[in-house]
C-alpha cells in the first residue's frame, strides 16, 4: 500500500500517481464504478453505511493506531455533530430546530464534535494507557444516559426525526447515488488526511509519543498538546461521520449513541485492523455485511452472539485484524515461493 516516493522524479503528474499507488487507484476506480452495478439497497444500506461506519472506526483507529489511545467515545462525538444538525438545522419534532442552512450547520457540527473530542481527550490524556478506555467508556455511557434523560435540549427518548440531507445546486443528496458519492468523498478525504498526517511531522511525533512518551517529553516535545490535537482531528472525522449518519437515518435518538453502538465502532476497528487506515473500512464492510445477511443464518435475535464470537476469534488469533491475517498469508506465500525456488 505505502508507495515510496520515487528516487528520481519524472513529471509531476506521474510522481503524484506513483505516490498514490496502484492499489489505491484500482480501489478508487472500483468504488467510483460501484453505483453502476449495484441496486439502491446495496448502494446506501451496504455502501454508504459501511463508509460512514468506516469513518467512525477510522477516527478511533487514528487515536489507537498512531496515538496508542483507544477511545470508546467516538460515537458520542458523532452524536454531538448529529444533535447539532438536529437542533440548529430543521427537524420535524417541533422542538428547537433553528432552521439554519446546511453550509452553516455542518461546520458548526464539525466544530462542536472536534471541540468536545479535544476536551475529552485533554481529560483522558492526564492518565495513561488502559485508563483511556475506561474514561471514554464512562463518557460514552454518561452521554447516552444524559441525552435520554434530558428533554429540553435533546428531546429525551424519541430524539429528533425528519433530518434530511440538503439539496445543493439541484442535486438531491437524499437520493441513493448522490448520497453514496457524498459518503465516498467524505470517506476518501478522511482516509487521505489520516494517511497524509501519519507521514507528516505531526504524525511521526505522535507515533514517537505513543512508543515512548517519557523520552519525547525529555527531548522537549509537548506530549499533551500533540495528543489533544490528535483527539481534535479524530473528533473532526467522527463529526463528519455523525452528520452523514443522521442524514442516512433521517433521525437521531439516544439509541444511535448507546453503549452497543460505541462498542460496535471498536469492534469494526479491531476486526479490520488498527495498523493501517484502510483497516476500519475493511472491518466496516465485513460487519455491515454480517449485520445484513447473518440474520438469515442465525436469526435476528442471536446476531450479537455471532458478532461477539467473531470478535473474540479475531482478538485471540489475529490481533491485527483482517489486515493482519492478510499480512500473515502474504508472508506464508512468500516463504512457499522461496521454498519452491530451492
Amino acid at each position: 500500500m505505502n508507495a515510496d516516493v520515487t528516487q528520481n522524479p519524472a513529471t509531476p503528474a506521474r510522481n503524484l500517481l506513483a505516490r498514490i499507488g496502484t492499489g489505491h487507484l484500482v480501489l478508487a476506480a472500483l468504488l467510483l464504478a460501484y453505483p453502476l452495478v449495484s441496486s439502491d439497497f446495496f448502494l446506501t444500506q451496504i455502501g454508504g453505511y459501511s463508509l460512514i461506519f468506516g469513518m467512525l472506526a477510522l477516527s478511533l483507529s487514528l487515536l489507537a493506531g498512531y496515538g496508542g489511545m483507544v477511545s470508546l467515545a467516538q460515537i458520542s462525538f458523532a452524536g454531538v455533530a448529529g444533535y447539532t444538525v438536529a437542533i440548529f438545522g430543521e427537524n420535524n419534532s417541533n422542538i428547537l430546530g433553528f432552521g439554519w442552512p446546511w453550509w452553516l450547520v455542518m461546520p458548526l457540527a464539525l466544530f462542536f464534535a472536534a471541540t468536545s473530542s479535544a476536551l475529552i481527550g485533554w481529560v483522558s490524556v492526564r492518565t495513561e494507557g488502559i485508563y483511556t478506555i475506561m474514561i471514554t467508556l464512562a463518557v460514552a455511557t454518561a452521554a447516552f444516559y444524559f441525552v435520554r434523560q434530558n428533554y429540553t435540549l435533546f428531546n429525551g427518548f424519541p430524539g429528533y426525526t425528519g433530518l434530511r440531507a440538503p439539496i445543493v445546486f439541484g442535486v438531491n443528496f437524499r437520493d441513493p447515488v448522490p448520497f453514496y458519492y457524498m459518503c465516498l468523498v467524505a470517506a476518501t478525504l478522511s482516509y487521505a488526511a489520516v494517511l497524509y498526517a501519519a507521514r507528516s511531522t505531526f504524525g511521526l511525533t505522535l507515533q514517537a509519543i505513543r512508543d515512548n512518551p517519557r523520552r519525547m517529553r525529555a527531548i522537549g516535545f509537548d506530549v499533551t498538546a500533540h495528543k489533544v490535537v490528535a483527539w481534535f482531528y479524530a473528533g473532526l472525522i467522527a463529526g463528519l461521520a455523525g452528520v452523514l449518519l443522521v442524514w442516512f437515518n433521517g433521525r437521531i435518538s439516544p439509541g444511535t449513541i448507546n453503549v452497543a453502538a460505541a462498542i460496535n465502532v471498536l469492534i469494526i476497528a479491531v476486526i479490520g485492523g488498527l495498523k493501517h487506515p484502510i483497516g476500519p473500512f475493511v472491518g466496516a464492510v465485513m460487519v455491515v455485511l454480517m449485520q445484513t445477511f447473518a440474520i438469515d443464518i442465525v436469526g435476528a435475535e442471536r446476531f450479537n452472539t455471532l458478532i461477539g464470537v467473531f470478535f473474540l476469534a479475531i482478538v485471540f488469533f489475529s490481533p491485527d485484524g483482517i489486515l493482519g491475517l492478510w499480512g500473515q498469508l502474504r508472508q506464508r506465500l512468500a516463504q512457499e515461493d522461496l521454498r519452491s525456488r530451492q
Partner: protein, 354 residues
C-alpha cells in the same frame, strides 16, 4: 478528619507555627469538621423556612441521602471487585457488569425455586466465583501482559453474555423477593416534621435498604481486614504495587490472581442478588453497573478498597441527590465529578501515582 487539630485552626491564632500560619492539613481538617457539623445539624435540627426554600422538605432531603448511602453500598460491592482485579492484574474487566447481572439472575432462580433468599445470595456468590475463576484461568492467563487484548476480550465476553442472558431470561423485569424478616419499613429516630398538635413525625425507611448498607460496611471491613491483616492480603497488596517483584520473591502470582478474580466476580454476583432484591433485575442493568464501577474506580483510585468506598459514597450520594434536585441533569453531576477528579488528581482520590 482530625478533631484534635481543630482548635488550633483559626487563622492567625497559631503561635506555634511562625510565618506560614496554618498548614494545609489543618485547613482540610477544619473544612471536614464544618461540613460534618452542617450535616449533623441538617439531620437533627428543625428546619427553618429558608433551608426549606433551598432543599425542599427535610423528608425529601434525608430520603435522598439515605438512598444515596444504600446505593453507595451497592456500588461499593460491585466496584471493590473491579478495583482489586484492575489494581492487581491491570485487567480492565469490562464484563464486570455482566457478572453482576448474571449473579442477579442466578440468585433469582435459586431463591425462586428453593424459597430461601439467603441460599440465592450464597449460590450467586459461589457460582460467580467459579465463573470468575474460569475466566481468569481459561481466558486471561493466555493473554497476560497484553492489557489491550485482555480488555477487548472482556468486551467480547460482555456482548455474548448480554445476548445469551437475553435469550434465557428474555427482556422482562424480575424482582427477587426478600424474606419477611427483612421486609417492611422501620422508623428512624429522626424527626422530619412536627404536627400542629405537637406530635412528631419520624422518618420511616425500608428496613432492607439499611441491611444493604450494613452488609456493604461489613463486607468492606472484612475486605480491609483480609487485605491488611492476612498473608494473602499482604501478597495482594504487594502485587498491586509491584507484580514482578512479588513473582520474583517466590510467590505463585497466578494463584493470587485466581483468588482475587474469584473474590471480585463473587462480590459482583452477590451485589447482583442484593441489587435485584432492593431494586430490580432487567437487561441493561449490566451497563449501568459497569458505568458505576468505572466512575467509582476512576474517582476513588485504582486498586484501593478505601478508594472504592470513598468513590462509591460520592457517586451514590451525587446520583440520588441529583435525582431529587435536578432530575434531568443528574447524570451530568456524575460526569462532572469524574472530570474534576481527573483534572485535579488523575490517579483518583486514593490512587498512587505511577
Amino acid at each position: 478528619m482530625s478533631i484534635a487539630d481543630a482548635p488550633k485552626t483559626p487563622p492567625g491564632s497559631a503561635p506555634g507555627s511562625p510565618g506560614t500560619g496554618i498548614t494545609r492539613r489543618q485547613v482540610w481538617g477544619l473544612f471536614w469538621l464544618v461540613l460534618a457539623a452542617l450535616f449533623i445539624w441538617l439531620v437533627f435540627a428543625d428546619w427553618p423556612d429558608w433551608v426549606k426554600n433551598i432543599l425542599l422538605s427535610k423528608k425529601a432531603f434525608l430520603s435522598a441521602c439515605l438512598n444515596g448511602l444504600t446505593l453507595a453500598g451497592l456500588y461499593f460491592l460491585v466496584a471493590s471487585g473491579f478495583t482489586l482485579v484492575f489494581g492487581l492484574m491491570r485487567n480492565v474487566n469490562l464484563a464486570h457488569g455482566s457478572l453482576y447481572l448474571l449473579g442477579a439472575y442466578i440468585g433469582y432462580e435459586i431463591a425462586d425455586r428453593t424459597g430461601y433468599w439467603l441460599l440465592g445470595v450464597l449460590g450467586a456468590f459461589l457460582i460467580l466465583s467459579v465463573v470468575g475463576l474460569l475466566m481468569q484461568v481459561v481466558v486471561f492467563r493466555r493473554l497476560e501482559g497484553d492489557d489491550l487484548r485482555q480488555t477487548l476480550v472482556t468486551i467480547g465476553i460482555s456482548i455474548i453474555a448480554a445476548d445469551l442472558m437475553l435469550a434465557v431470561w428474555t427482556g422482562g423485569t424480575y424482582q427477587i423477593l426478600i424474606p419477611d424478616w427483612l421486609a417492611g419499613a422501620i422508623k428512624l429516630p429522626i424527626v422530619t416534621a412536627v404536627r400542629s398538635n405537637g406530635s412528631i413525625v419520624l422518618l420511616s425507611y425500608p428496613f432492607f435498604r439499611l441491611v444493604v448498607l450494613a452488609l456493604a460496611i461489613v463486607i468492606g471491613i472484612g475486605l480491609w481486614l483480609m487485605l491488611n491483616k492476612t498473608r494473602v492480603g499482604m501478597m495482594i497488596r504487594a502485587g498491586v504495587d509491584d507484580r514482578e517483584m512479588l513473582s520474583a520473591s517466590g510467590t505463585n502470582v497466578h494463584l493470587i490472581f485466581a483468588v482475587v478474580f474469584a473474590i471480585g466476580a463473587g462480590l459482583a454476583g452477590l451485589a447482583g442478588v442484593i441489587g435485584g432484591s432492593a431494586l430490580s433485575v432487567a437487561p441493561g442493568e449490566d451497563v449501568r453497573y459497569l458505568l458505576a464501577s468505572l466512575v467509582v474506580v476512576i474517582v476513588g483510585g485504582m486498586g484501593s478498597i478505601t478508594g472504592a468506598a470513598i468513590g462509591a459514597l460520592i457517586i451514590g450520594l451525587a446520583e440520588q441527590i441529583g435525582l431529587v434536585y435536578f432530575p434531568t441533569y443528574g447524570v451530568v453531576l456524575t460526569f462532572v465529578i469524574m472530570v474534576v477528579t481527573l483534572a485535579i488528581r488523575p490517579q483518583g482520590i486514593m490512587g498512587k501515582s505511577q
